[in-house]
Symmetry: C2
Subunit: 189 residues, 2 copies
Amino acid sequence: MARWEPDSRRRLEEAALALYGEQGFDNTSVAEIAERAGLTERTFFRHFADKREVLFSGAGALQELFVSAVAGAPDSATPLEAVAGALAAAGAVLQQRGHYPRQRQSIIAASAELRERELIKLATLAAALADALRKRGVKDPAAGLVAEIAIAVFKTAFARWVESDDGPDLPQIMQESLEELKVLAGGAS
Amino acid sequence: MARWEPDSRRRLEEAALALYGEQGFDNTSVAEIAERAGLTERTFFRHFADKREVLFSGAGALQELFVSAVAGAPDSATPLEAVAGALAAAGAVLQQRGHYPRQRQSIIAASAELRERELIKLATLAAALADALRKRGVKDPAAGLVAEIAIAVFKTAFARWVESDDGPDLPQIMQESLEELKVLAGGAS
């Protein structure tokens, strides 16, 4: 039984994403997800609080990744270098997940409720990043500003990556977006 | 009758803000707001769709201000200069509203529902700003990135301004945050 657990979680995620894509998030029930995965509703609720959480259960891990990358940056790193390292790390992890982040994104884009949830998760991530920067000794308002800028770069790079399936890897796009930020920020007199 | 209309709107806003501050947004009804303002519920609903809209009815005007400032920036302005002008214009308008934006912000900070609504309004504002930049000929991903950066600067500057009642004016803090952005963005190698 125990060795089935990780597999059932993955099967539920796959079934949910397939159904959300086919018939829409709003039109999909937990019962349908469980049935598609060949599992019971009870098993579903052992893994996820509700059908929305299937899409957002990875947010905590992503946030930990960002925060630990900022915390682990060299002492000599500037605030922007510290978040650049975090963006590269997050980009690499998302890149490895293959088609999943793109599939997830198209489902979120189609639902106002899910878009709102995503905004909240990103705001929470920005707050966690700002805290991680403060722990490195970065003062406010710089800590808050760099955290918000990091999220801006992340959103922009992620949107670019989602758009083209055969474009550059996400870590490379993250790097390009950071370079673009520097050019754009240097462009005002 | 007609000459009472603008006044009743302002009285409803003041009554709503006072009640939200005193007893919380969740605990305040439209009936109480109307009563405090010395008006009827019917009059309330002529001005606002619901009690939440009292706090967000200005978002459209703020967005128009941002968009027209970006559209009206000189042809020679860089994308960041164009949004810097918009931030200065928005800062000046909010500064003129005196204590209202601070009072509003403390009410929003106290409610998860209102914080979410604010995030959605800011995301809508970012999308409108990106569109305004595209109309100036700014290509993607620069248009989206500069729009997100502008919102990051706006949020950071606004939060600093709200914190201290006797600090610098909001347009000046906006300018300082933009300068800080340039320093921070220049700080990564």
